[in-house]
């Protein structure tokens, strides 16, 4: 099933991101974000005051303080006052909110940004605070351990093995060799086990980064971009939180979101998957029915750079940028949130026929 055609077309017209780094301790979040905001606006020639709606994604828990997004807003330069909102989620969901805002006709352009600094704390520990606060979080099961449960379930089901996981990691990091923004580039040894069966090569780097996208509607998009990346469909779905009630070898929420976004017909040529762990790419490829002819993660994906809260928005930006450059005609972008792919978003982007 695909979503009904809409009478208003929305496109990604510009994308910018930081060079993602293990640490950026000399920079505040705002200082990390500012160059990205300037770059994405410069690409379209727009100024803050020209933007119809602004939406951002970030997490107070990464920043270590409440209302952390308020200072980023000061960096945007919200004067005169702007129409603006924020999701405490990956920026991909901020983009979804902005997309609905443009669909209502209340705005013709939107600025979407997100950022996260994982370096100041132990992100493995921080992410345990996402878990059930009464029964699970007090045990501090960390994100790598939970991902390892998922990887082992896949191995037990006969869907993969350790060499296949290593191949996923190697291919992503080799692709990242051509991505100047990636944190890890080129061949990476498989490494020692971090939490069995996951080795360091199966796990994402811990890093800091930011990303921004500009959306525009209809002819405005054509004015701002030579080849806009039209959002043909976008949908997201959530699953149960408890790992014990989910089949970790499958991702029904990704499949449903892809169906609703119209991802299966016609097929896509490119897929940017937000799979921070190698085993998750196996799950997503199956849910999205991606064949060997699809170029998966030409950017290197989250195994090469995983700035939390921005990594999903970056997938949409990378997919759109390939359409802007004429390297793709129809691309899928995926973002995830929560332990073991609990929540998933799928967007389908298309360029005009050439």
């Amino acid at each position: 099933m695909t979503s009904a055609p809409r009478d208003r077309e929305i496109a990604v017209v510009a994308f910018a991101q930081t060079g993602h780094r293990r640490t950026s301790e000399e920079l505040s979040e705002v200082e990390m974000l500012m160059p990205v905001l300037h770059e994405v606006l410069d690409r379209t020639g727009l100024k803050t005051a020209d933007i119809g709606f602004t939406c951002s994604g970030s997490s107070d828990y990464l920043a270590g303080r409440a209302f952390s997004f308020t200072l980023a807003l000061d960096g945007v330069g919200a004067w005169p006052p702007i129409s603006e909102s924020h999701v405490e989620m990956d920026g991909a969901w901020a983009l979804y909110e902005a997309w609905t805002k443009l669909l209502t006709g209340d705005a013709d352009t939107a600025l979407v940004y997100s950022y996260g600094k994982s370096s100041p704390g132990s992100v493995r520990d921080v992410l345990t605070r996402q878990l059930d606060p009464y029964y699970v979080a007090p045990l501090w099961p960390d994100a790598v351990a939970l991902a390892a449960l998922q990887a082992q379930a896949l191995i037990d089901a006969g869907d993969t093995d350790e060499p296949a996981l290593a191949a996923v990691a190697a291919r992503n990091r080799e692709a990242a060799a051509a991505n100047p923004h990636a944190q890890l580039r080129g061949a990476v040894p498989q490494g020692d086990h971090l939490v069995r069966p996951l080795r360091t090569g199966d796990c994402p780097p811990i890093g800091d980064g930011a990303a921004a996208v500009i959306l525009a509607a209809g002819d405005r998009a054509r004015d701002l971009c030579a080849r806009p990346a039209w959002i043909r469909g976008i949908d997201h779905r959530i699953e149960a939180h408890g790992l014990g009630v989910r089949d970790l070898t499958d991702s029904p929420s990704t499949r449903l979101a892809a169906e609703r976004a119209g991802a299966f017909e016609p097929p896509v040529d490119t897929a940017e998957l937000h799979a921070p762990f190698s085993a998750q790419e196996i799950v997503l490829r199956k849910a999205l029915r991606l064949g060997e002819d699809v170029d998966v993660n030409p950017s290197g994906g989250a195994l090469a750079a995983n700035p939390i809260m921005a990594a999903g928005l970056i997938r949409i930006g990378e997919a759109a940028a390939r359409i802007h450059r004429g390297e793709s005609d129809r691309a899928l972008a995926h973002a995830t949130s929560g332990p073991c792919l609990q929540q998933n978003l799928v967007a389908v982007l298309e360029g005009e026929p050439r």
Partner: protein, 388 residues
């Protein structure tokens, strides 16, 4: 292009109290959601998407709690969004949900906001030190007191105005079974005799810390036609933000608030809010913000807001009732407080507000603000669809 009209067909809130030790976070939000579903005579299966909001995650110590709450809110297999815009979040959350309907992305949406302040410590949650940034000056009252002083100096308002607001809101709360504070022995003298906390803000002029949740069911024209009780129709809705700190900011009457109200009135075709709006649920966490926001929202001229309060215009039986429910001064589960304003406005135009109902209320404003008076969200709801 045309937007789909948005109707409120279900409203539910918890009984707000200082500590709900009998329920988990999941139990708290589910209680409000089930009441909203019951009001709309719908089931979980009728809900296409869920949009939730709350103030910072540090208030309960759960990072991105929408993940954990997906099951409790019947969201499994559905889209779920989590909004966070500081104190305005309850209003912003409702507006994000409304946009899903207005854009025809979904037909029927559950929106909910909550805070369970007893799970943690809000003062701690707001006081994590960051180098080279100003601390929050011992709680929100410390931040807002100087701006109240500035208002008093600018407007020449008598010192008693704040106490009048608190006395009114606490009396209104006695008529609202869901309100946190039920001070049956309240008198104006007691308010004025309460200890000074942050000069000029007295103890009885401040909001409590509450546990609570508020939910609404928003739907399209077809959904409204099936509703068992009168819907409230969204006639206008807007958000505006401005920077926290900069030389040109007017903390007494921020431009973002003025612009936001003007946008809502434009959408709703309101030319004279004072005459055309029948009541307002305004985010007043410290009593003096009633006269300040009356001016900011265009109900009174600059420096004139306190005169409406003093003349009793904002009383429940006044010409422009304000905070008929008892307001934030009587109930403050922070993340939910904005949505409660929006929901109470909808209750009024549906004629469902019970003892605090304003007779004949046809157009009512719901208002929320947050941060250092830099985030605003508002909606105007009416008893008729927008095009009638």
């Amino acid at each position: 292009m045309s937007k789909e009209p948005v109707a409120v067909v279900g409203i539910g809130q918890t009984r707000h109290v200082a500590a709900r030790r009998d329920v988990s976070l999941a139990g708290l939000v589910r209680e409000a959601a089930l009441r909203a579903l019951r009001d709309a005579e719908l089931t979980w299966a009728d809900i296409d998407a869920v949009v939730i909001g709350k103030a910072p995650d540090f208030f309960e110590g759960v990072m991105m709690p929408e993940l954990y709450l997906a099951d409790a809110l019947g969201a499994v297999g559905k889209p779920m969004l989590r909004v966070h815009t500081a104190g305005s979040v309850g209003g912003s959350t409702a507006l994000v949900a409304a946009n899903l309907v207005a854009a025809r992305v979904h037909g029927t949406v559950l929106t909910l906001a909550f805070e369970k302040q007893s799970e943690s410590n809000a003062m701690w949650g707001l006081s994590l030190p960051i180098p080279f940034q100003q601390p929050l000056l011992a709680g929100a009252g410390g931040f807002f007191a100087p701006h109240i002083r500035a208002y008093m100096r600018r407007s020449g308002a008598p010192e008693t105005i704040g106490a009048l607001v608190a006395y009114k809101d606490r009396r209104n709360a006695l008529k609202n079974p869901y309100a946190h504070l039920h001070e049956h022995d309240i008198t104006l003298d007691k308010v004025m005799a309460s200890p000074m906390l942050w000069d000029p803000i007295r103890y009885s002029e401040t909001c409590p810390s509450s546990d609570g949740a508020c939910a609404m069911i928003l739907t399209d024209r077809a959904g409204a036609a099936r509703a068992p009780r009168p819907p409230a129709w969204m006639l206008g809705g807007a958000m505006r933000s401005e920077p926290t700190l900069f030389a040109g900011k007017d903390f007494v009457s921020p431009r973002a608030g003025q612009d936001c109200a003007a946008d809502v009135y434009r959408q709703a075709g309101i030319g004279d809010p004072r005459r055309e709006i029948d009541g307002a649920e305004i985010y007043v966490p410290f009593s003096w913000y009633e006269p300040m926001w009356l001016e900011n929202l265009g109900f009174a001229g600059e420096g004139e807001g306190w005169k409406l309060t003093e003349a009793g215009v904002t009383e429940l039986d006044g010409d422009l009732p304000v905070n008929m429910s008892g307001g934030v001064l009587s109930t403050n589960p922070i993340g939910a407080s904005g949505m409660i304003r929006f929901a109470e406005a909808a209750l009024q135009v549906r004629g469902q507000a019970g003892e605090h109902q304003v007779d004949g209320a046809r157009r009512v404003l719901g208002h929320a603000y947050g941060g250092g008076s830099q985030f605003f969200s508002m909606w105007l709801v009416g008893d008729r669809p927008p095009d009638s």
